[in-house]
């Protein structure tokens, strides 16, 4: 088992960091470069930037953010939000991202995963799955969780892996921003279904809950936003706690 990664996530709209609850009610949190510097200093293992704005202008500003961050921060950067073609992938990679995160576009055109992996390598293709609980299972959703595709989220994860995805970023829509704890069943089900890393996202509110995502959910990494942005926890606090509990994390 490699080290568990602690990954801050910056939702970016028009070049500013925002965060909502249940993917709604976006609130502005500040300058992405300052957040990135702060998290790097705290010991973040990677950073994820998701452009949540729907406009071309917002996308352009996210590219600028990536340019700035990648010129001074040398940890892996993942970029997502509205990426729908190899050309989009190329533009975020050129701006400084190391991986691209695909969500709606991959559901619309699963072959995009194969094409992206062929050109840029599997390690570069992260599939973001927004899962909503439906009875005993979960459905993959799009449009910030508002549209249910009816596709089983775990089956979709397996399919992505077959198509060449290198990693799965698994978000629980039901738990997003609630700080009520992870949907551990969801994380575990995905983690056991695929042999590529799974990043857990959505719902953790405490260090104990984050740890559960790793120990019980079997996640390879934890993604955090509000908890860090609000200063409730720092990356260092989380890593120190993980280390104390016997989970290997890098310094």
């Amino acid at each position: 088992m490699g080290c568990v990664r602690v990954v801050p996530c910056l939702d970016v709209n028009n070049g500013r960091v925002v965060k909502g609850v249940g993917f709604q009610n976006l609130k502005e949190k500040g300058d992405p470069l300052l957040f990135a510097r702060m998290y790097e200093a705290q010991g973040a293992d990677e950073l994820v930037f998701l452009d949540v704005g729907a406009t071309v202008e917002s996308r352009k500003m996210t590219l600028k953010v990536l340019e700035e961050v990648s010129s001074e921060i040398f940890i892996p950067l993942t970029a997502g939000g509205g990426i729908a073609s190899e050309e989009d992938m190329r533009s975020v990679l050129r701006a400084g991202a190391d991986k691209v995160s695909l969500c709606s576009a991959a559901l619309r055109d699963p072959e995009l995963i194969r094409r992206g992996a062929a050109v840029f390598g599997s390690q570069c293709i992260v599939i973001s799955i927004d899962a909503r609980r439906v009875g005993e299972r979960w459905h993959a959703c799009t449009h910030g969780g508002q549209r249910d595709t009816g596709i089983d989220a775990i089956d979709w994860g397996k399919r992505c892996r077959e198509l060449g995805a290198g990693e799965i970023l698994l978000n629980s829509i039901d738990r997003d921003g609630t700080q009520a704890g992870y949907d551990l069943e969801l994380i575990r089900a995905m983690s056991e279904a695929v042999d590529i890393p799974v990043i857990a996202s959505g719902g953790a509110g405490t260090r104990e809950q984050l740890l559960e995502g790793v120990t019980r959910g079997k996640a390879d990494a934890v993604l955090l936003a509000s908890l860090l942005h609000d200063g409730k926890l720092t990356v260092k606090m989380i890593k120190d706690f993980f280390r104390k509990k016997g989970v290997d994390v890098p310094c």
Binding site: G2, C3, D45, S71, F74, P76, R94, G96, V119, S122
Partner: protein, 200 residues
């Protein structure tokens, strides 16, 4: 001047940016002739062994690099760029690497098919790791294959399910399985150390 080998695959920008941050000038080398204008070479790489080996061949870069390495000039292979030094890889059994390192690359043995993330690197005393204490020696990896830990010239190993070669050095020929350009302060330190091995 560092020549970054651009064989049309993978993401070279992060290597360029890390070198720029360190004040090391670099340029992209797309054909063997470009090697005449640089003092050191970085062979980066992501993607599959066979595809990369094929691209090195059709661009003629392979013969240029073989000559470069034969003259013992400064060379750093990163990730797939290190694996390409081997003669073969189980990833693409029919493809041929540069063959400078005897042996072949094998799949990683961990719980996941790809070893992705930070990992501890145990290194022998070597200028390349100068100033990186053992207990803080973590680097970022993204790979599905690696050279065996017992390969001759290995100066650092890491473990994912089983030990594998994390760094290799034979004179001015160096290779790392991790990504120094993405390994934060340790990675920058490593690249700076590497520069000092040839830019004297």
């Amino acid at each position: 001047m560092v020549g970054i080998i651009d064989y049309g695959a993978g993401n070279l920008y992060s290597v360029q940016k890390a070198l720029a941050y360190l004040g090391i000038t670099s340029s992209l080398v797309t054909q063997a002739g470009g090697l005449d204008h640089v003092n050191a070479v970085i062979l980066p790489g992501v993607g599959a062994f066979g595809e990369a080996a094929h691209r090195l061949e059709i661009t003629g870069l392979n013969t240029g690099l073989e000559r470069w390495i034969g003259e013992n000039r400064p060379f750093l292979g990163i990730c797939l760029g290190m694996q390409l030094l081997a003669s073969s890889s189980e990833e693409s059994p029919s493809a041929q690497g540069l063959g400078v390192i005897q042996g072949g690359c094998r799949p990683v043995q961990g719980t996941r098919r790809i070893h992705m993330g930070w990992n501890r690197v145990s290194h022998q005393p070597d200028l390349l790791f100068y100033g990186i204490p053992e207990k803080e020696s973590y680097f970022y990896f993204v790979h599905g294959y690696a050279l065996p830990a017992h390969t001759e010239g290995v100066i650092a190993v890491s473990e994912y399910g089983a030990p594998f070669a994390a760094a290799f050095r034979a004179g001015d020929l160096c290779g790392v399985q991790f990504h120094p350009e993405k390994s934060g302060k340790n990675g920058l330190r490593f690249l700076e150390n590497w520069r000092k091995t040839w830019d004297v």
